[in-house]
């Protein structure tokens, strides 16, 4: 479980996050949604520690990151897996070496044990016979899956995904969503996903936090999001003709 309390962050005097508080539960896929530039990525990167926060608290299962020394922070980071927007795979390493990297750095596993773990992780994300390919030789969807495999290599307690569906076709997006959802419940981890893909919201959003201009604007579940009266959220969720149509059909079903 991750809890954030009154989290604020500014860059060169410009306030990007304004006292954001929320609770991200274990075993659930927690989504942060919002328009581009609303502060989603800053929030996610602040939680994982890539940005120093100006005010507030971040608690990983009750452990306050601001009270941790360097060593404790380093140990905490080994409990975190992160999937970046473009995968962020290491260009100079093969698929297998990318997944092995955290094991090489932080474990004393034997080569055989590492190989077994790599095979398990790659198999879990349905990557087959690509172990010796480089990131530039695989598709965008595969890159995301390898990034997920690398993120779960050390059995993380917390999984963070920054727009895992960006740049992917709808079919691959659904597969990635399903994979993250399965991994979250299978390994009972706390997952936070940063997205503006409404399909992800509908499919895997156990808990949704809507950020508007750096502030928490709404919080609820995927079933609540379509019945909310929050104007800002409605303007975001039902921005596309497809989602407008979806709402009309849903309302007709509810009326019947």
């Amino acid at each position: 479980m991750i809890e954030i309390k009154n989290l604020s962050k500014s860059f060169e005097g410009r306030e990007v996050l304004k006292e954001v508080s929320s609770l991200f539960e274990k075993g659930k896929t927690n989504l942060i949604i919002g328009q581009s530039g609303s502060g989603k990525t800053v929030l996610l990167k602040s939680i994982v520690g890539l940005f120093d926060i100006d005010a507030g608290e971040i608690l990983f299962d009750g452990r306050n990151t601001r009270l941790m020394d360097f060593k404790e922070q380093k140990l905490l980071r080994q409990e975190i897996g992160m999937v970046f927007q473009n995968g962020a795979l290491f260009d100079s390493l093969t698929v297998e070496e990318n997944v092995r990297f955290p094991m090489d750095m932080f474990t004393t596993m034997t080569l055989k044990e590492k190989k077994m773990r790599i095979d398990f992780c790659l198999d879990r994300v349905n990557i087959k016979e690509s172990n010796h390919l480089y990131p530039s030789e695989i598709s965008g969807g595969m890159r995301k899956r390898v990034a997920i495999a690398r993120a779960i290599a050390l059995n993380p307690k917390y999984l963070f995904c920054d727009e895992p569906n960006s740049g992917l076709d709808p079919v691959t997006s659904i597969l990635i969503d399903a994979l993250i959802k399965e991994i979250t419940s299978e390994f009972d981890i706390t997952t936070i996903i940063n997205t503006h893909d409404m399909n992800s919201v509908m499919e895997i959003g156990d808990n949704i936090l809507y950020i508007y201009e750096g502030q928490k604007c709404w919080e609820g579940t995927s079933s609540q999001i379509f019945n909310t009266r929050n104007k800002k959220l409605n303007a975001f969720v039902f921005a596309s003709p497809f989602s407008k149509k979806f709402r009309e059909i849903k309302q007709m079903e509810d009326d019947e």
């Binding site: 994982v48 520690g49 975190i80 473009n86 290491f90």
Partner: protein, 246 residues
């Protein structure tokens, strides 16, 4: 203010770079890879340039120092001392700043903008140390070796060009390169190559590591890395010459 900020940032980065590595075996493997990538792959270009420069210096000495008062072996002696004192240490380092420096800055800059460095940090890896320390050690280690190769190739260049142009015989040239040899010149230049090697790897690393933006900024960082490293090499050449020859 900007300069002070960058100097401060650079030293803070170096503190992170020289922290105890997470796992020595991984760093050792990285070091070997960097020696091959940054050092071994530079040997051919160093050798080619040095052969030509040795030949050119020999010809220049022949045409500009031709005097009945001067013995002919001065051509070999002049070529040797020019190579040892300045060309194979300073000029070669300027060339390496272009080749190796731009490579380092663009590699780290690309890793920064594609969030590869962030992903290392999130794993708990000291990315500065993992990425930069092997590069610095590799270049510092390989620079004196490149210096020796360069001096040797430069002397060979003179040995080929001198007799071919009719300026000097092989015997006179050989007498020149073995006359009045001052071992301190070699020590002095090796000290310089250590310092220049450190600059060649660390300054572009700093420029690349802190890139913000996209491909354009990576290009700018790469250019900036070469320019700044070159200026610093010349500045430290001046300082070291003054300090060590005093």
């Amino acid at each position: 203010m900007g300069v002070l900020y960058h100097i401060g940032q650079y030293f803070l980065l170096m503190v992170r770079v020289f922290k105890k590595p997470e796992k020595n075996s991984i760093y050792w493997r990285q070091l070997i890879l960097e020696i091959e990538k940054l050092g071994i792959n530079s040997i051919a270009i160093v050798a080619v340039i040095s052969v030509f420069m040795g030949g050119i210096i020999t010809l220049q000495l022949t045409y500009n120092m031709a005097s009945p008062l001067m013995p002919n072996y001065i051509i070999g002696l002049g070529n040797r001392d020019t190579l040892i004192l300045e060309f194979s240490s300073t000029v070669l380092s300027l060339m390496l700043a272009g080749k190796v420096g731009s490579n380092i800055a663009s590699e780290l800059g690309s890793m920064r903008i594609t969030e590869q460095i962030d992903s290392m940090e999130i794993m708990g890896v000291n990315s500065a140390s993992y990425l930069i320390l092997p590069k610095i050690l590799a270049v510092v280690f390989i620079s004196p070796i490149l210096f020796i190769i360069s001096v040797f190739c430069g002397l060979v260049g003179g040995l080929i060009t001198g007799p071919l142009s009719g300026a000097v015989t092989i015997a006179t040239y050989t007498t020149g390169i073995t006359t009045l040899f001052v071992p301190f010149y070699v020590y002095f230049s090796i000290i310089k190559t250590f310092v220049f090697g450190f600059l060649i790897a660390s300054v572009p690393s700093y420029m690349g590591y802190f890139v913000q933006g996209g491909a354009l900024e990576v290009g700018r960082a790469s250019t900036g890395a070469v320019v700044n490293t070159s200026i610093l090499i010349l500045f430290f050449d001046l300082v070291l010459t003054q300090l060590l020859f005093k």
